[in-house]
Structures are given as C-alpha cells and as structure tokens.
Symmetry: C2
Subunit: 308 residues, 2 copies
C-alpha cells in the first residue's frame, strides 16, 4: 500500500560519548523513509532540500522505492542543519546549532500522484504545515500518524491542537505527553490526550521502551532492546515511526492487534539505528537481520503463567 | 517449600505528593513476607524488632504462615525507623530520618527449625549479616536471592563482594548496577556483575520495569504496569522480591523460564503495593485480584509477529 512520509531531509552534526561526526545526512523523513523501505516500496516523500543535499542519497532512496516528486529542491539554498551533543545517559542532549535554511520556505504542495495514498506519516514539522498536507488530500488516508515536539507545544499550541483533531495516531515522548496533558501519570496523560483527537497514542520512552494507548483501558508496552551501547540515538524516534507505519502499510491492517506488532517492529528498527551514526545501519541491514532481531524481542518479553 | 526471609521489620513515616503517614509498619522482611505469603505458607522470618512492634501485625503475619522463631524481640528497645519524602517522579526521595535502634544489635542466630529450608531471601542488610545467615545454614538452599543497596557499596564493598560469591540471584536497581560494575550500559554492567558471583542478576528500574540477566546472552524484561497513580513506592522492591521468591518456592522450580514467570509475578505484586501506603494493599488482595492483574501483564506485552 502507498505511504506518504512528510518531514525534514537535512544534515546533522552529532557528538556522543562515543565520538563525533561532521555533517551527515539526517532529518525525520530521511530516517522514516529508510526504515519504512524495509517493509514497503511505494513511499512518496514530502520534504524540502537545498542544492547541497547529496544526489547519491537521493538515488539510494529512489532505488528503495522512495518517490521524490513531492520533494522540493532549492538549488541555491542550503538544507536544514542541526547539531547536537548527547550526554552520557543518551536521553538528554544539548542543541549546538539549528540552521533552518530552506525549511523557512517550506510550503508543501502535493503532486497529483500523491493523491489517494493509503497511509500518511507526518514527521515532526510546524503544525500548520502538517495541517496543510492533510487538507490537500482529497481522500482521507486509512491512517494518519503524527509526530510532534515540545517546541510546538510552547509556540503553536492552538495549531497543534487543531491538527490533533485530524489524525489517528499521535506519537510523543513521555515529557511531551506530560506537558501536553498537564498530567504526571502517563495513564492519565494518555486519556486526556486521546480526548483531544487521536484515537491512538504512542508514548516513546527512549531506552525504556514505548507505550501504545487506545480507548479507555487498552495499553500495550514494547520494551527497548537492551544493547551493549547506544552509539547515537539521533533519528531513533523517526526510525521507530517509519518501521511502525511501514509494517502497517505492508500488511494493510489498522487493527489494534496489528499496531502492537507494528510497535515491536518500530522498536526493532530503532534498535538498529542507534548502533551507528546516522542512517548507516538502516542501509546495511537485511530482512534476515530484522527477523533475527524480532526473535530477540520475543525472547525478551515472552513468558508463561500457570497459576493453580 | 519452606522459605527463609531475612531483613528489617520496622516503622516508616512516608510523605508523597499524595499525602503523608505517621509511623506505619514497614521494613524489607515485612513487605517480602506479606507478598510471599500469597504463594506459600511456610515462611520463616529472620529479623529483629523492638518492644514497640505491634502484636497485631505479628499475629496477622503468623495467621498467613509466617513463623517468628527467628525474630528477636528486644522489649525495652525501639524498632528500626525510617522516614522519607518522595519527589513527584517517585523514583527519587530524600531520607528525613534513619533511627537504627535495635538494628545496631542485630546478630541473627538461626533456630534449628530453620535448617534445611529450601529457599532463602536476603533482604537489604549489612553484608556481614547476610553472610552470617548463609554460613549458619548446614545445607545450602536451592536458591539464595539477595537484595542490597548503594550504601553498602560505599561502606562495605569487600564484604558485599564476598557475599556475592555465596548467592544465586542478585537484585539491585539500575544506578546500583552501574555503581557496582563501573559500566553505564546495563548489558555490560550485568556481565561484569555476574562474573562477581551471582548466576542471575535482576536489575530493577522502578516504573520502567525490571530486567533478568543470565549467562552470556539471556535477558528477559518485565514491564511495570502503567498505573493511574503511584501512591507510595515504599516497599515496592521488597514486595517484588517476595512475589518472585514466593512463586519460586510454591512451584519449586528454579529454571530460567520459571524465573521469568516469577519476575512477572513480582511485578504484579509490586503494582499492588504502590497503590496505597504501607502494606495495606498486600493484606487486602485475593488470589482472584492477583490472577486478574497477571492477565493485565499478559495483555500488556503479548503480541504476534507474522513476518512473510
């Protein structure tokens, strides 16, 4: 099934306790597309890039079935650039630089070929842009999932709340869920947030896994795989989202049960991406690598209860 | 199967964001015994209490099959007392008072009736006392599990390392695992700690669940149940341990697979105790309550993977 992915395609410069990179390719839509491309090869990308975005990265994504008709390239401008430094716990980081560059001119116009897409993933973007994408679609996709961040809660809360009424699955981290709801308890936070629009809520907890909430009393937990080292967490959330929606698109099944599987698959994909800088690992892994890792998730949580 | 439980029986005064208590009954061995008593009724308690320890608490525990021959009562002394205040995240707390009282005179002498016990749980105590208990047993129990804390890593590391060579399962929290191993990664920490003696390591992560490590590559994860509110986390770790070893004693099965089940049961028991102050909830719950909660754990982590 066809999948629209909207978000940034950008450069990152990353410093972690294990090393640092010069400018490497990053961006939410880049990570999500690489991740989803392991499950579906009909991906329609929505983004904006500068003349500096590497052609070989575009070619590599195209070879995986990622279409670029909806990616605007401004030849004389620079791509979005982010630079950050992670602390030892890898859950906190300092932003060193945010150069919006072409992102200030992002005015997504969906090509006709993007109409009738089955699934839409809205990576973290200004809420008004996320809304602009949704409203251009003449037929509502079967499932819209959206990522956002605390910055938009601080600066564009009304827009964010409006777009939340137009989507199916919201994806935030634990501190964002607390901020958005005003509740410390994630269970209470989830109930409040689902009353704001989304039928499903995914709360990402980094190395502590992810929770999926639905309706009044359904909750599913996917652990993060315990790893020897988390080398670089950049893009883990986008990779998680790409694996999640990639599996949904492949199976064309939006049931709660299939979303559980999708969350495990997203977690497995995220466990790969953090093992090296940037998207490197996502380019290398095979179907067999993914299957083996999924089996590790089964071993990780599988238990028998025999109560007498 | 018979189960020895050693640890404190004490008073706590607790303040949380939800309220505060006067002196209520607490202590590691109290929580562990209440928890384990839901699974086995042949519990032999090892502790020391003052004349102020309430007789009705003793009677209530005796009615659940907890034997007191190994509990020394000093009529003219006071029981151990701890007072603390939890922060909003419930994972951090300030200690307001620690009055050791009778604990300074604790010199455990095992009665003959405690010999040949099948299982031993050593709650958090000075490592030399934990060793003293082990060495009094003429026959090594089938499984010895031990809790400890950062305080003993700071003040009695050599003793702690010695007792670690005499036990089977060590239970610590994530920051203690990092301190004990000098490794930030919990996977690496687990490998180092198991080289120090214990064949199994349980790392408790509070609201983020618990990990069980065994040998080189076996790892199991039990989530914490997402709750509306964590009312009072005091005793959660001891209750977890009591449920774990209670299940092992009931089933008389020390296989890795049964330990996975035991960890889920420990997590379920911990999810009850945090719902009210002190041991209250552990006294109220029924077999049916426990079964229902275990089903919630199954729903929480159960998923299907159908990879084509």
């Amino acid at each position: 099934m066809s999948l629209l992915i909207a978000g940034t395609m950008a450069f990152d410069a990353i410093e972690t306790p294990f090393g640092k990179t010069d400018k490497i390719v990053g961006g939410s839509a880049t990570y999500a597309a690489w991740s989803a491309s392991h499950f579906t090869n009909e991906i329609k990308q929505i983004s904006i890039i500068g003349g500096d975005f590497p052609q070989d990265e575009i070619d590599a994504l195209k070879a995986r079935g990622v279409q670029f008709e909806g990616v605007e390239q401004k030849e004389n401008e620079k791509s979005f650039f982010w630079s950050g430094k992670y602390h030892l716990d890898m859950n906190t980081r300092d932003t060193l630089a945010t150069d919006l560059n072409v992102l200030t001119q992002f005015n997504p116009q969906l090509p006709d070929s993007y109409q009738n897409a089955d699934y839409l993933m809205l990576g973290n973007l200004m809420p008004s842009l996320q809304k602009q994408i949704i409203t251009q679609l003449k037929v509502k996709p079967k499932l819209i999932i959206m990522d956002t961040m605390n910055f938009w809660m601080d600066t564009a809360l009304d827009d964010l709340k409006e777009v939340m009424t137009m989507i199916d699955v919201l994806m935030v981290n634990d501190s964002e869920a607390r901020q958005l709801s005003g509740e410390y308890s994630l269970v209470k936070a989830a109930q409040k947030i689902m009353q704001m629009g989304p039928k499903y809520l995914i709360i990402k907890k980094g190395e502590h896994g992810a929770l999926l909430f639905h309706e009044h009393n359904q909750v599913f937990f996917a652990p993060a795989l315990p790893l020897d080292d988390v080398f670089d967490p950049t893009g883990a959330g986008d990779t998680f989202a790409g694996g999640f929606i990639g599996h949904i698109a492949r199976t064309n099944d939006i049931s709660y049960d299939n979303m559980k599987t999708a969350i495990i698959i997203g977690s497995a994909m995220a466990s790969f991406v953090v093992e090296s800088f940037g998207t490197q690992k996502l380019k290398e892994i095979t179907h067999e690598n993914i299957s083996k890792r999924l089996n590790r998730f089964i071993d990780l949580v599988n238990f028998d209860i025999k109560l007498s």
